[in-house]
Symmetry: C3
Subunit: 134 residues, 3 copies
């Protein structure tokens, strides 16, 4: 299961991204706003913001997740990834519907921060060990 849990998290992240891409297309249809126009009522712009955030998030999340795997194995990074993806889905749903996006945002950012600091610590420790051994 070492590789499969972070792989599953990655696939779930891609499913979330595909879902929001579809949601943007539907919102463009519902509000009659055709590309390249990027402005409209707040309900429409919120969907665009969720989309932008959902595109942006894997860029930070996936490298942090996968840099942890060689140093901690797949299980704990994958588990943090499951927390992250559930929090992101919550956030996306709350933001798009005008609800409270605070809790989802905070949980996701904490999970991502743990993975980022874990990756930093894992890499620096490995470099230190290699430097000491030579």
């Amino acid at each position: 299961m070492e590789q499969q849990l972070p792989q599953l998290v990655t696939v779930m992240n891609m499913l979330l991204l595909a879902a929001i891409i579809i949601a943007v297309g539907r919102a463009r249809g519902r509000f009659g706003i055709h590309a390249p126009v990027m402005t409209g009522p707040p309900e429409f712009e919120r969907v665009l913001r969720v989309h932008a955030n959902t595109v942006e998030n894997p860029v930070l999340f996936l490298p942090c997740l996968w840099l942890c795997v060689p140093y901690y194995g797949g299980f704990w990074p994958g588990l943090l990834g499951v927390v992250w993806i559930l929090a992101r889905a919550w956030y996306a749903q709350a933001y798009a519907s005008g609800g409270n996006r605070g809790p989802g945002f905070t949980i996701a950012i904490v999970a991502n921060l743990v993975l980022l600091l874990g990756a930093l610590f894992g890499v620096l420790r490995a470099m230190w060990i290699l430097a000491s051994a030579s």
Copy 2:
């Protein structure tokens, strides 16, 4: 050739991205619209939209492509990737020039969807086999 075909597709995707980044710079020059301004005539905004789409697309495409490789080898995912990159280049050209971007968009989205579902199936089957064996 197992790894080389998806690697080549990834490089081609990066070349497409570099090309559109250059196109944005040239469009800013041609229309005299300097950063951070993001609005202007439709011809200019279309180039910005192609740029945004071209940045967004590898975020969905590359993880789907590379998650398929451990489960199906490099050839079939790579071949779908070649279809995808050609469709994306067609789409970018059609969108920026105000032409019909429908066919390129549809082919690319179908190719990406096959890779996404292939990755999901591959990971879930691997988890199932590992869970059954233990």
Copy 3:
């Protein structure tokens, strides 16, 4: 050190991205501009542009960096990555503060271009060798 140097560069890139995400939140607070609004005084919009650029850049940079590693090892790609990340940090700071972002931009684009062409050459040569051998 083969894998550690490009890993360290990747982590540093993620730290830069986290820093600019925090900077956007602070700029929203300082100028009192709440999401989903994406317009405001030039100082605010510049921070948004730096953010967009900083999200966009790993999409081009990280695949180029990591595609070079199997062909050239971790050291030279990693060293180019260190140059790139320092130039990107310089660029981000100069852009956000309204300074001269030219030098940082140019150095980063050249480093990325070398990695892109290196990846292209490495992959094509490997395909050529494999095709010749069969």
